[in-house]
């Protein structure tokens, strides 16, 4: 028992630290790394909650694949420190306060809730709980539709990414008249109305 508690605290601290790191670190590159750490910590928590499969997925897919993509992009566009600017300063100042307020509200919600189960280890479940088998059967039966839809969503996302990021004839060539394009989006010939 004590071991699990210890693990929880360690993981929780890790998760929070990672999260804070994402927010406070000025360099996006470090932010990404912080997020990786955060994700791993989360994976540990998942384990504590007997979600082995998810923990694995978290580490492999998320902390692995997705973050790598991030790193590539950051490398591509060159993550630069951002200096502070006046505009939106107010938001930057008050934002955290409101966010904290929201968090407190959530905590109150949890604390005030009348559900006894909250203050328990949770229902006693068999060893199969959270196993790939169980997840799989759920995916194939009860949650078939979301599963399929999600897979289709991946396809859509891929297409979208292609649309957005594909090198396109005409963009680079017209770099020189970027400035003009700022106020006058597209232009070739004059039109009388």
């Amino acid at each position: 028992m004590w071991f699990e508690d210890l693990m929880f605290f360690l993981a929780a601290i890790g998760a929070l630290a990672g999260a804070l790191g994402v927010v406070v670190l000025r360099n996006p590159f470090y932010s990404v790394l912080a997020l990786v750490g955060h994700l791993i910590a989360l994976a540990v928590l998942f384990l504590l909650l007997q979600a082995e499969f998810l923990a694995a997925a978290q580490v492999v897919v998320y902390a692995g694949a997705v973050m790598v993509l991030y790193v590539f992009v950051v490398a591509y566009i060159g993550g630069s420190d951002e200096p502070l600017r006046p505009e939106g300063g107010a938001v930057a100042a008050f934002g955290p306060i409101f966010a904290v307020a929201l968090g407190i509200e959530l905590v109150i919600a949890f604390a005030a809730s009348g559900l006894q189960a909250l203050d328990s280890q949770g229902a006693d479940v068999g060893a199969a709980f959270g196993s790939p088998g169980q997840i799989g059967s759920l995916l194939l039966q009860q949650y078939l539709v979301p599963f399929e839809a999600a897979s289709y969503l991946l396809l859509v996302a891929a297409v979208g990414a292609v649309v957005l990021a594909r090198r396109r004839r005409g963009l680079e060539e017209e770099d020189d008249d970027d400035e003009r394009r700022r106020e006058a989006p597209v232009e070739t010939l004059e039109v009388r109305v």
Binding site: A149, L153, V159, V162, R181, V186, V191, R192
Partner: protein, 510 residues
């Protein structure tokens, strides 16, 4: 446990056939789009898209059933008349978008195949959302609806505002869906169920009705959905995104997204959380009033027609919300009815905007409409009718729709919401009438803007000198939907029948 005990669920293919039509359509279009070439780009792809959408509509009519029916596929989808009705609306919106984008730059930028398949993807998302009957499907549906739209908003990559719109929509949209997700999580946590039916059973049973956990979840869910429906104070993305996005996409977003969002609004609040009406009723009605006020006052100073329509759509969302708030069958019917009306009149208006912004060197600024009455009555009349309808004048659909909504709110003991609708409509006159004045009453007092004379790149295939007839498809859309506005205003019975069928969904309503 082995695969042996995994029994594949029974799938009612007939019921989900419309969804399959759009899904399949998007794949096919994507594939066909890979073949470059003008014929494919300009003709084949749009045609196929239209076909798949029409098929979907046809299938809906085939599937159409009154009354509440057993959910298909283990309660993931609820193919009832509400879902089907919304499906039709979304498909119509899709068709319109196809027609309007035919000559649009966005298509060429994004590539016809990708563009249209994303469009269909979004439509599918809406269908899924409308049919969703458990939390997971709901969330997937919403994302499937949104993600293609993020992309489509940004497709005019040469236009800074388009990218800005995409970015803003993505960021705010993700915040919204994160909030929604957390809310769903809390609801799930409070009830231990994902299926709507089970949730409504669990209310008061496994969890007390007033439980803070549950209610906080409801609050977050409401936020997430209100965001999608662009209900104030979660509306701020709307004007910017509508203005920045390519106009055909704006049209699609404006009408279809709202339809889907309100479908799920109705399903979750009037069905799953129906028992909590006493708790969320006041909150949602407050939101409704705020949207009505903010949307209308926000629209008044706008010169950009798209932006003006965006603000007005915020107000319209407020009107629609009243139908949800009352939580009665009449409310459900009124909302469905008004969604249809809203689609008809907005499409007419947006079509005209598309037509003008392509030829006018003032873009979508209101001054682009100046003297349209004399120069191009065939564009001026649809716009006029649309504006009158939005303002709620008889004998247009808008009047009947508002009448129905007020009727619903009064019968649901929310008379003051009816008054709010009325007051909102009065304020809205200020900007709707200005548009009409611009078209018919010369340049009087519509001081011309100082916007830089913008030079226009004509979409391929037509001469900029030509008048509206150079883009027949846009003209047809405008005229057809304007005519519909009038027809529905004068002979609304068919639409009412449909609304009544829709009303037979959600059996728990009184």
């Amino acid at each position: 446990m082995s695969l042996a005990d995994v029994t594949a669920p029974v799938i009612d293919y007939k019921a989900i056939s419309p969804l399959l039509a759009t899904l399949g359509g998007s794949i096919v279009v994507l594939m066909v789009g890979l073949f470059r070439g003008p014929l494919v780009r300009r003709v084949l792809v749009p045609a196929l898209t239209a076909v798949s959408l029409l098929t979907a509509i046809g299938l809906v009519i085939w599937v159409w059933r009154r009354g509440d029916i057993a959910p298909v596929i283990r309660g993931s989808l609820e193919v009832d008349s509400l879902a089907l009705g919304i499906t039709v609306l979304c498909c119509v919106a899709g068709l319109v978008a196809v027609a309007l984008s035919w000559r649009d730059n966005a298509v060429r930028e994004a590539g016809a195949g990708e563009y249209h398949s994303l469009l269909l993807g979004s439509v599918s998302g809406m269908i899924v959302l409308a049919e969703a009957s458990n939390l997971v499907t709901l969330f997937v549906g919403i994302e499937l609806l949104s993600i293609p739209l993020y992309v489509l908003c940004a497709t005019e990559l040469r236009r800074r505002t388009s990218l800005e719109a995409g970015l803003k929509y993505l960021v705010i949209g993700s915040v919204g869906s994160a909030t929604l997700l957390y809310g769903l999580a809390l609801v799930y946590g409070a009830t231990g169920q994902t299926g709507f039916a089970q949730i409504s059973d669990a209310l008061g049973d496994t969890v007390p009705l007033g439980d803070p956990l549950l209610l906080t979840g409801v609050a977050l869910v409401a936020t997430g959905l209100a965001f999608k429906a662009s209900v104030a104070p979660f509306h701020q993305w709307t004007p910017d995104v509508y203005q920045g996005a390519p106009t055909p996409i704006t049209t699609f977003m404006a009408v279809a997204t709202k339809a889907a969002a309100f479908a799920i609004f109705l399903r979750i609040f009037d069905h799953a959380l129906g028992l909590l009406q006493l708790d969320w009723g006041p909150a949602l009605s407050a939101l409704a009033v705020i949207s009505i006020v903010i949307g209308n006052v926000g629209a008044i100073p706008q010169r950009s027609l798209k932006r003006m329509l965006a603000w007005s759509s915020v107000a319209q969302a407020g009107y629609l919300l009243t139908g949800v708030v009352v939580g009665t069958r009449l409310g459900l019917q009124a909302t469905a009815f008004y969604l249809a009306v809203y689609l008809i009149m907005n499409v007419a208006a947006f079509a005209v905007v598309v037509a003008r912004e392509r030829v006018s060197n003032r873009g979508d600024d209101i001054s682009a409409l100046e003297n349209l009455g004399q120069e191009q009555p065939w564009l001026a009349w649809p716009m006029t009718i649309a504006m009158l309808s939005l303002a709620g004048f008889p004998p247009t659909a808008g009047f009947i729709g508002k009448f129905y909504l007020i009727d619903a709110s009064v019968s649901g003991d929310y008379t003051w919401l009816g008054i709010a609708i009325v007051v909102g409509s009065v304020i809205s006159l200020a900007y709707y009438l200005r548009v009409i004045a611009a078209m018919w009453m010369g340049r009087y007092e519509i001081e011309l803007p100082t916007v830089p004379r913008r030079t226009v790149k004509p979409a391929s295939g037509w001469s900029p000198e030509a008048d509206a007839l150079a883009q027949p498809e846009v003209l047809v859309v405008a005229v057809v939907f304007a005519a519909l506005t009038l027809i529905v205003g004068i002979w609304p019975d068919p639409l009412f029948d449909a609304a009544r069928d829709v009303g037979t969904a959600l059996s728990n309503l009184s």
